[in-house]
């Protein structure tokens, strides 16, 4: 692990050497630990926020809860929960308000004291004050730069440490005889359960097969009914298409021959239409005998 941390120490921030501490000084445990903690906090925090966001998206907040039939204990609990949610917002609003107020007060005081602070009496003090301010500003800039570069290194270090940690855990699990024994036990238990399940499944299957053997007519009727139903449906579809095609073809031919389009065919005489009554097939022989 020390070698790996040394490796992280060797990583140079891109273009930021001017302010960073020289790495040739060797391993600094404090800096490495801080870097690791910062990286884990950043990466872990982002991961947590991402997960929470996904969860919120998957489970949107519903309508307002019913306030009816709540006991006193429920009311108190709900009030506390609501306060917990509202506290963060209240603190944020209060901080913003305080900051705004302090800026306003400072501005007002500065304006009021301007004639005094700008007088010749205070002139000797201005040079050291400006010097302190300049140094503070420089330090702030330096901290900002270091933070910016260290953030990248911390993230990279956290990612690699996490990966190495997972690899170590997997290696440990794979090589550990206790874990292997646990897995073997589970496999044996599954196999035992399969032995008890197989006869059950077979029994249910046998019962179904026996039912099919005992009631072949029902099954046959069901299958035949399905087949006949499908055939009838296909036949009716073909018939409908051809009937439509009859009209289409005639219209087309009449248009090609420049004949007037036919609105409706003259119907056959009733006695002729009567002959077309469907469903006569079964009674055809009787019909012939009767006529």
């Amino acid at each position: 692990m020390i070698d790996e941390e040394m490796q992280f120490e060797d990583m140079e921030p891109e273009g930021e050497q001017g302010f960073a501490r020289p790495e040739s000084e060797g391993f600094d445990a404090y800096r490495s630990v801080v870097r690791l903690l910062v990286g884990l906090a950043l990466v872990g925090g982002e991961g947590l926020i991402g997960r929470v966001r996904e969860w919120e998206t998957a489970h949107p907040v519903g309508g307002s809860a019913q306030a009816e039939e709540e006991l006193d204990g429920d009311l108190a609990r709900h009030a506390l929960i609501g306060m917990a949610f509202e506290t963060a917002e209240m603190v944020r609003q209060a901080a913003l308000g305080a900051a705004g107020l302090s800026v306003s007060v400072a501005g007002a005081m500065w304006s009021a004291l301007r004639p005094i602070t700008g007088s010749f009496l205070f002139r000797p003090f201005w040079s050291p004050v400006r010097s302190v301010a300049t140094r503070g500003e420089a330090r702030f800039v330096r901290y900002t730069r270091i933070g910016r570069s260290e953030e990248q290194r911390s993230r990279k270090m956290a990612d690699e440490v996490t990966g190495l940690l997972i690899e170590d855990i997997l290696r440990y699990v794979a090589d550990n005889p206790g874990v292997m024994a646990l897995i073997d036990t589970q496999v044996v238990a599954l196999a035992t359960r399969a032995e008890t399940l197989d006869p059950l499944v077979q029994e249910v299957g046998d019962r179904y097969i026996a039912y099919l053997n005992e009631h072949p007519d029902d099954v046959q009727n069901l299958v035949q009914g399905q087949a006949i139903g499908m055939a009838t449906e296909v036949r009716d579809d073909v018939r409908t298409v051809t009937v439509t095609g009859d009209t289409f073809l005639e219209t087309l031919v009449r248009a090609l021959l420049r004949r007037t389009p036919r609105e409706d065919l003259p119907p056959p005489p009733p006695e002729v239409q009567h002959q077309a009554v469907p469903g006569r097939w079964a009674g055809d022989i009787r019909y012939i005998k009767e006529n």
Partner: protein, 185 residues
Amino acid sequence: MTERKLVGQYAGFLSRAVGLILDYVIIAAIVVGSGIVVNLLFSALRIDLAACPAGTPINSVQTLACVGGRVFLVFFAIILGPLYYVFFWSLTGQTIGQRVMGLRVVRLNGRRLGFWASLVRWIGCQVCILTLGIGFLWVLVDNRRMGWHDKLARTCVLYAWPAVQNERFVAKVNRRFGRRKATSA
């Protein structure tokens, strides 16, 4: 759009053509099937039907049986068509193909189609075939959707099922060609 039931109305060209094709397929299947059966029977009797081409002198029982088998097959193929049509038309007014397509042949006077009328109608069909199908195509322009064979036998073909057509499509077609006609006029 309400659906109009066309049962009892004159059947159109396409339905009848599909029924005719189905009948031809059935007849062809019967001819081929009977040829296979006859060949198998003669093979069992050790008679090769291919060994007696036309003009083979009949000088033995074998050649007699061979020629007899071939003549039977040809005769059966020729006679099967009229037998099939006349039988079904005179019996039920519809062949198997027409049954599938929901069509029925009836006489114009409302009476059942008899043997002679069926035979005349079949002869009329042959006339239509000889005229390269013009007699069949006459259905497309005739006001009662009758072909030449129908006119010869004084028959017509009706829808024998509660036929419905795609009214929306038909209306569209009618609009399309009706407009063209109106414009050209």
